[in-house]
């Protein structure tokens, strides 16, 4: 059983990075996973140059959804929206670096899907569409 979740995943779950709220976020987006009732609220500060100046998330969920939100928020802080637009769903799965069964895909992708909705007015997403990765 211990080979399913890498130590890094569990560490992100126990101590998620960027967990909390922003005082005056430019963008707030809620996401949920109807399968398990998990919820995620993502907050972003976008500066005048169009960079992600600050990011935070709250919510509760499983190790996979929490670790993926923790990793994704680390990754996008400081990026330009153009750079953010290149992040695809497969990138998130690759970064998790563990086997994601089809039943858990929605957990793994909750954070990136919420990010995409948060920025849908500002970003032309370049990677794939809402289709689930094969």
């Amino acid at each position: 059983m211990d080979d399913l979740y890498r130590a890094e995943i569990l560490e992100h779950y126990r101590h998620p990075h960027n967990f909390g709220t922003l005082e005056h976020p430019d963008v707030t987006q809620e996401g949920s996973n109807p399968l398990c009732g998990d919820r995620l609220t993502l907050m972003l500060d976008i500066d005048e140059q169009g960079n992600v100046a600050e990011v935070a998330f709250t919510g509760r969920g499983c190790a996979i959804s929490q670790a993926s939100a923790s990793m994704l928020t680390d990754r996008i802080r400081g990026l330009s929206l153009a750079e953010v637009s290149k992040i695809g769903r497969q990138d998130v799965i690759d970064e998790l670096g563990i086997e994601i069964s089809p039943a858990r895909l929605k957990c793994a992708l909750l954070s990136v899907d919420t990010l995409r909705r948060a920025l849908e007015d500002r970003v032309a997403w370049q990677a794939e569409t809402e289709e689930e990765p094969a």
Partner: protein, 467 residues
């Protein structure tokens, strides 16, 4: 003129080889005229009964012997069979059910109520024979009260869309409970939104039992319908159906009982329950997916408008009008899932041979064992639902503090222990429990204490991993 006479006047183009059962004692036995072919006769007779070892001796079921009847246990999951603890979602299927479905498809896969040839008659006999088996199994007085549907969800939707649309009006109240599966909630939401009617809910106490005083208070509002589950799929609570039916009837309400979690696990007799509508799924009762049943009192079914239009549900069709078929066929538009119905008949034969009182006792003992093993074997584990196995069916729901149920289920899967994680289609119940999701282990006739031991060991591994 009875329907059967109408049919015979039709020059034999109609299909059903049933004798009229309008007489004083339309018991299901003998209601079916079995076609002349020997195969047809054997099909309508009970299918293979369980391994003799399973039913020999005195009382307790022998799940090890039962497991030999379930081909899925021959599959290897890392050197062991699956510990299947998700029977509340769907049951495993014994070989006799697999064979009954295969037998139809391989040997007499004709349509029912149509073919004037041996294969068609065999198919009709087996399909209608399955209806008799269902009637007998749930204590229906009349085989015409058994409507084949896909599952309990469809049965409840059928009642909401037909009886409900005709009888529920603006300002009327339907009483449900906090325990309900979404399938006994959303159809009523759709109905009351359309009709500007109201829903009220019987709350549960700290152990997940319905608070009967609140039920009585809601009955004083004179609801038209009370609909509740016999057994909670979320936390296993067994509701006192007969007492609640009596009080609902005294208040002038009709009663629908969702039997999806009771029929597979305990003796059920709709006449003794005295309810008006009863729904269950065949696939949770060892039968195939696609098999389900609505039972309703015949006079209710006869007064209800049809659900879907099409073939089979008609007697006469003209360009602008139709004379509907008799019940239950009025509600079975289109070619039904014949193989699934026949498979369900085989499943009920299997359960009947085990005897449902023994099935209940087996699962009650397993539940007591599991509640004890989890409470003492997994420190800190939070159990939901009634504390006593006497008050709950084989459904044990829990949370492992600090570990999301989805992680629990994924990690247990690595040990070939199959449980359910999520809200189990009972989101309002989970809001009441204060949990977005729970983990659920649920049992069947083939469940052993060994399966529960594997669950406990695996949960301790999960705890160690997350410590």
């Amino acid at each position: 003129m009875t329907n059967a006479e109408r049919r015979s006047e039709d020059g034999g183009t109609l299909p059903i080889t049933l004798v009229p059962v309008d007489g004083p004692d339309p018991r299901v036995e003998g209601a079916l005229v079995v076609p002349r072919t020997g195969i047809g006769r054997s099909l309508a007779a009970p299918t293979e009964v369980p391994d003799a070892a399973a039913v020999s001796g005195s009382d307790p079921l022998d799940p090890e012997a039962i497991r030999r009847d379930f081909p899925i246990f021959e599959r290897d999951f890392g050197g062991r069979p699956v510990a299947y603890l998700d029977s509340a979602a769907t049951s495993l299927k014994p070989r006799s059910v697999v064979d009954a479905v295969d037998g139809y498809n391989a040997r007499y896969s004709a349509n029912v109520h149509r073919g004037i040839y041996a294969l068609g008659e065999e198919a009709t006999a087996a399909y209608e024979g399955a209806r008799d088996k269902v009637a007998r199994f749930i204590g229906a007085r009349d085989r015409h009260e058994i409507v084949f549907v896909r599952n309990a969800t469809e049965a409840i939707n059928l009642v909401a869309a037909t009886w409900g649309r005709r009888h529920i009006g603006a300002g009327d109240t339907i009483v449900l409970t906090e325990l309900e599966h979404h399938s006994n909630l959303v159809p009523w939401q759709l109905l009351v939104q359309e009709k500007d009617a109201d829903l009220e809910f019987v709350p549960i106490d700290e152990e997940g039992r319905l608070i009967q005083a609140n039920f009585d208070a809601l009955l004083r509002t004179k609801p038209k319908l009370v609909a509740f589950t016999h057994v909670s799929n979320g936390i296993g609570t067994i509701n006192p159906v007969r007492e609640m039916v009596d009080r609902a009837h005294a208040a002038g309400a009709l009663v629908l009982v969702d039997g999806a979690q009771s029929v597979p696990h305990m003796p059920v007799n709709v006449a003794e329950l005295d309810c008006d509508f009863f729904a269950f799924s065949g696939h949770k009762a060892l039968g195939p997916t696609g098999s389900g049943v609505l039972w309703a009192r015949r006079e209710l079914l006869e007064a209800m408008p049809p659900y879907m239009g099409g073939g089979e549900m008609i007697l006469e069709v003209h360009l602008r009008s139709t004379v509907y078929n008799d019940v239950p066929w009025k509600f079975e538009a289109g070619t039904p899932d014949i193989a699934a119905a026949i498979g369900l008949g085989a499943a009920l034969d299997y359960l009947s041979a085990l005897r449902m009182d023994r099935v209940r006792e087996h699962e009650r003992l397993l539940t007591a064992y599991a509640l004890d093993a989890l409470a003492h074997g997994v420190p800190g584990l939070l159990l939901h639902g009634p504390h006593s196995a006497d008050e709950r069916a084989g459904v044990v729901t829990f949370n492992l503090p600090g570990v999301h149920p989805h992680d629990v289920a994924s990690l247990l899967d690595r040990e070939a222990v199959a449980i359910r994680a999520g809200h189990h289609c009972t989101q309002p119940l989970h809001e009441r429990l204060g949990e977005a999701a729970t983990a659920r282990a649920s049992f069947g006739v083939y469940t052993t204490t060994g399966d529960i031991d594997r669950l406990v060991v695996a949960l301790r591994k999960v705890q160690a991993l997350f410590a």
